[in-house]
Symmetry: C5
Subunit: 380 residues, 5 copies
């Protein structure tokens, strides 16, 4: 018996809803490549499309339903950015894809929301896939990292961006677009694509900051008193770092290829800025590696703290037991019922005048001797 | 005394039948290279051969016994795919090899079923070896990964595929072949080879999904209560990942060489699709690495959970023992038989009016004191 | 609910003040690149600027307030070094930036004080970012590493240096500048830039020396008696090494690019000296790796020392308990109240003539037998 | 005082005889390079030399004593293979070296039997050093790996092979040489060299098979019951893998250089076969890495199995001790000798009608309560 | 408060004298590069300089005090080797440096005795820094590795060698120089430089041999009985390997650059020999890595041996305690003083005819039952 794909999917879906985001989730094997099937969960109610049309002289924002109606904006000489939020309505997305004649593999990748970051050069477009990482503080104070796929298509005169949710991450860019003097208005669509990428990369730093805070907090608590939930926290942090690294790692090569490629779509002026993003990505990767080592260090520290506590417990047991076991034995001796009257050798101590005090003093001196022995060993 | 090859083989065979698939299994040393000897277990009853002959206008499927009889299908201008299931009947296979004049080393590799994945360029053919990974759910609920070697020979006008079993993994491709408008019918045999490779790679994702589910399940159970069988499960997962990685790792370079090679057998159009497969393989390798780290994390977690449980056991023992050992000692004291009549110093407490209650209260206060001490230490 | 950036910042700020220097700290996401915002803590009261104007014939040091007033020094043929201490007053810094027309990204990097070390080539300047590492001995004897960012801009006829504090690290260079015959006076501004870099790299060796001493000290103490605070010291050392490595690692490639680049700003004569700095950086990285392995070794040693101590504790417990438990049992036997008068089988030993001595000798021989057993096992 | 070289040598020799083959064993420092000194143990009685002279029309095998006497075989047009078994008689070997004018460094390497595998190109010869790995089953069932150095010199018309023992590993090649139609007879001496290399590489697979079997066996036993000798077995396996890897690793680059080099001594036809050997070596290295990970996994498993057993032991102790310690205390209470006649408060229970049964029931209920507590904790 | 450099130096000096040789020890930061300051300890009484003047026809050895006086030897056509032992007298060294006009950076590196190995090409000289490793057996039988820096300057017609001590490591070369027919006399100064390097590399093998012996010895002892001093030995071995690796690692690239460089100072004939040294260095690095893995394996083995011993200790305690605790409880029961006369329910067993024997048999059967239980569990 084999597990049916649908069963696997259902299981994975439930893991996904419980925030286990590390899933690999794809179309069934053997299916036609270039088939656009949305493989993620529906994360917004409606797919919204917004046209941002701008050049040095104007900046218009128009929500659209059908891409054909907005053809004037696309055809005119000014730069056009179509921002799409929500990926579950493939038919709606297809209207855009068909209009811009995107390659089937681009289409497939936009809606297969478990892509690794990459930059691909097609004849008339650059296709960029990135993972946006945001964080949410749960009511109980824990901070969870969330991820969504953001795809950017950079064409001759336009930029298309596709994101899974309507998270307002590009808000600052909209504000900058409203100012006439910014480079965004002056330079070409490649600078806009750069700005979008830069914004996403900037978010990584904030997620890393949060992880750093968590590491510090756990570290302080472990030194104080190691508990099982700290172990789970460390494990969760480890997962987060694996997950973060996976989201960023391959981006480095992607951006590097943008800097080194001769594509006419990317100007030299923007390449200097891309070099800056590249530098940031390298810095993020560095920080991730650093955090991973810190987390491994945390784990080692946790285990040693456990060992230390164990040692302490064992010492208490050993000290108490080692002191009282011989004493109890002596008390047991004088609790024996040998008949003193049957023979002068039978426990004559019981009838000695100072029998009891002597035995007590004897016990006391044994106890003190053992205490001294443990003291010498440095056990307390 | 040396272990005879046959003994080794028998031992390995038994390991193999018990699903220990990591075996390296080959022809005896010193034998002529290019000797085709089937080195795997017989996994289907009969070797079956099927010709798929197709172009834009037609698609025929003909089971064949002898390759000579089907020469018309091969010689005509349409594309031909000969699908072979089962590798134990080397004589039957040789009829095909001889007809297509395959290099002896290709012949040897097709039936030596422990090859690592590779892509080799010969003068008039591209030889591709891949490992298909499927899974089976056992009656007891465990999921086992199975592997078989699939070899693909891509020639000028034909594709030969050799698989160990008759697992219907290429079913979806057959369905797509029946539709006249698909790229499979339009493009050359290189696209068919690509489609076969893509299907095999897609299966990796499903195996990885199952591993992810297992990891999640084990993780939850370990947090709850670590048991020895979880350790064995972790160990098995670790083996699976080592095995998966070995099956995929070298494929990356192989596909890369297909993309970069100038062989006339592979068109530029198909290379874009191969780039997609390449990307998937990299993604699979990424996921395998991620899973391996997760499994190592699981192991660490298991060991810490064990330590925590141990600590807990020790604490219970220490608390109980530490409280009662001194009390028992005191009870032992008053169980001594010193004769109170022999001297006024001999256990006068035994005759005190409140001797017994006082001793009980004394014991109780010691117990409470120790409990307080443990409480302060944070032991419960 | 999301954690507001300001809250994160505040948390990070408090970590920072408590000497947790591994922070990643940056401008909010989406902001215009090239925006110069000081992201570190204010570490000196006032931003001071000093002009060092020198050639073979003279050397003048002039503290300045406004860069325009010192234009003569800059425009003349002699070499000019403007040393800036303190980065929090961006407006003041901007006067220099504007005067020398630095690229906005250089401006941003100078005041974003968590850059990784790098060397970037612009059209008319080389931009070098390094991390200076100094150490302070706290009143309690612990040694803390401190870091600050030092940026160097090497132009055609000038060098600009920006540091966070007024730490007098370049003091020895000032002294050498006063001597007329030094290479500093003879060679161009590239040699000055080299000298600054060399000084910073030399400081790494001193930090590493201190770490080496700490490692030796901890090692000796652990062998003597492992304590929890040693574990924390090891953990702190580990963090220091991660942090040091991060500060130096990427510098290697940076300096290498200076040696290999054809920039007219760096002469061949200076490149031989840069090769020397490169060599030192490699040596520092080597030493860091060595120290890291030593620290891991320390950790392993600590854990084994713990285990050994634990074993010792357990042996003491086991020896004492194992010897006295059987003896106490025997004493317990003869403490039973079976009535010897009810039957001749009821504890006749109690009335034997040598009953008590025999029982004592019996106990003694058991104790000696067990001691012999433990001796044979090599337990003490 | 220094350890004299002779003392070191003697120590190493004894280690060597006890099968510790990882020794580095060489000429004393400062000696003239190119000095041929046999550094291994004498492993056959006499050095034997055999000439195999063959071409398409004939195949002769002649044992020789002096190389000069066989000059006709060497000078004729047919291919000549001189097989030398035993390396301790350097004078005898020198007759061959001198005849073929081998470079002094080749001479030195042939008899220094701890070379790492390598391929070196000289003007008129290719010098190949490999390590043959064979296994022997000891009477007690353990399998030991043995190694010897095999050197191959490939010249224009001849092949020289030097091995330490007379292990008949090239037997299958001799058989193939007797058949007139094999490639060995058709192709040049380069194909013979290839065939020798292929045979040696094939032996690696058999050693790896044995290691795999050992790993499986140990794994099964550890799951069943971990014992100290398993640990030693794991340690021995680890050493074997380190040793195997060292024997194979550098061979990869060597063979690769043979494939890529333009030496006229190696034909393109043979290069295709060398590509196959290269592939096998890579596969061996892969398997070694896999086995190493499996062995590390075994070790982890062993340690966890130990911990689990420890936990079990502790639980038994804790359950028994925790149940009986309080009961013994209660029994101790009623064994106290407070005089009931001295006061009504002094142990009135002793005279109660149901005193004894009540106390027994009280003890029983405590025992049951504790059992229930442990049951709840999941301890059994 | 900062630690003064002098304090650090003093601390490091004391560590150094106690044979902690891993120190990084350098000139104070900011000092003029190319300043020759001796940074090591004084290790010979006087700096001695010896001229070896030789060609095919003669070989003269002359101890010199001032380099000028020996100018004839240097200026003549024969090859000259100036061997300097001792580095603390910089003024004396400077006479040589000045005579040969060595670059200031070479001068600095010769006396800064913590250089990593390197090969640097200057216009008219090749500068080689190596670390010589020797060993000394202490009176207590432990073997310590010692290191010193050996610098070689290879010029057109001369070789300069600088070593820290007068250790007679080049003795064998002197002997070979006395023989007229050796290559040393025939070939140029590059061959002499090669011979010096070869001698130093040969010493590595002897140090590695000693480490191998130590590893074997510790391994045997650990299997027998793990003790704390073994742990310290393992730790010391680990340090030695880290230290050895550091001394050799970068030499590989250095020698490689000598083989590949086109410097006229190194002839092709000598390059073949350098290839041999290169090979040895790679072999040393391989062996170091192998030894490191062996040492890690030792550590793991030590830890497991500790765990096994711990388990054994716990088992003895558990068996003894678990058997006697219930028995003692039963003895305690019959030691209670319930008055049999107060009620027929009060301990009637005490008056049974077979009361005592029955109780003893009961105890015995409990003990046997528990023993059987432990036997079944495989505890002994």
């Amino acid at each position: 018996m084999k597990l049916k794909p649908s069963q696997i999917t259902r299981k994975l879906e439930s893991l996904f809803l419980n925030n286990h985001v590390k899933r690999v989730y794809r179309k069934p094997p053997g299916q036609m490549p270039g088939t656009a099937i949305h493989t993620g969960a529906k994360r917004v109610e409606n797919v919204t499309m917004t046209i941002h049309d701008f050049d040095l002289s104007h900046y218009d924002v128009i929500p659209i339903e059908k891409v054909e109606k907005s053809e004037p904006y696309i055809l005119n000489k000014s730069k056009t950015w179509i921002q799409v939020c929500g990926l579950h309505d493939v038919d709606k997305l297809r209207t855009i894809w068909d209009y811009f004649e995107l390659h089937p593999l681009i289409q497939e990748d936009i809606v297969s929301t478990s892509q690794r970051p990459k930059v691909e050069f097609y004849e008339d477009a650059v296709f960029i896939v990135m993972r946006l990482i945001t964080h949410k503080t749960e009511p109980n104070g824990t901070i969870n990292l969330h991820t969504e796929q953001v795809s950017i298509v950079l064409g001759k005169n336009y930029v298309l961006s596709f994101q899974e949710t309507d998270e307002p991450i590009f808000e600052p860019i909209l504000k900058r677009l409203q100012q006439q003097t910014t480079r965004l208005r002056k330079l070409g669509p490649d600078y806009l694509a750069y700005a979008l990428m830069d914004t996403i990369v900037d978010h990584y730093f904030h997620s890393l900051d949060l992880v750093s805070i968590s590491i510090e907090e756990v570290e302080e608590k472990i030194i104080d008193k190691p508990e099982e939930r700290h172990l789970q926290k460390i494990h969760a942090l480890r997962r987060d770092m694996i997950f973060l690294r996976k989201s960023v790692w391959s981006l480095r090569d992607g951006i590097n290829s943008m800097i080194r490629d001769d594509s006419p779509l990317i100007s030299n002026e923007v390449k200097i800025f891309l070099r800056d993003v590249y530098d940031h990505v390298v810095q993020v990767i560095d920080s991730i590696e650093t955090s991973r080592e810190m987390i491994i260090g945390l784990y080692d520290m946790y285990m040693s703290a456990l060992s230390i506590k164990m040692n302490e417990v064992m010492k208490v047991l050993t000290i108490i037991a080692t002191i009282f076991i011989p004493l109890t034995f002596i008390a047991g001796i004088y609790g024996m019922n040998f008949d003193p009257e049957a023979s002068p050798f039978n426990m004559p101590e019981l009838n000695w005048y100072f029998g009891y005090p002597i035995s007590l003093i004897f016990m006391l001196s044994i106890a003190l001797g053992l205490l001294l022995f443990f003291k010498r060993k440095g056990w307390f």
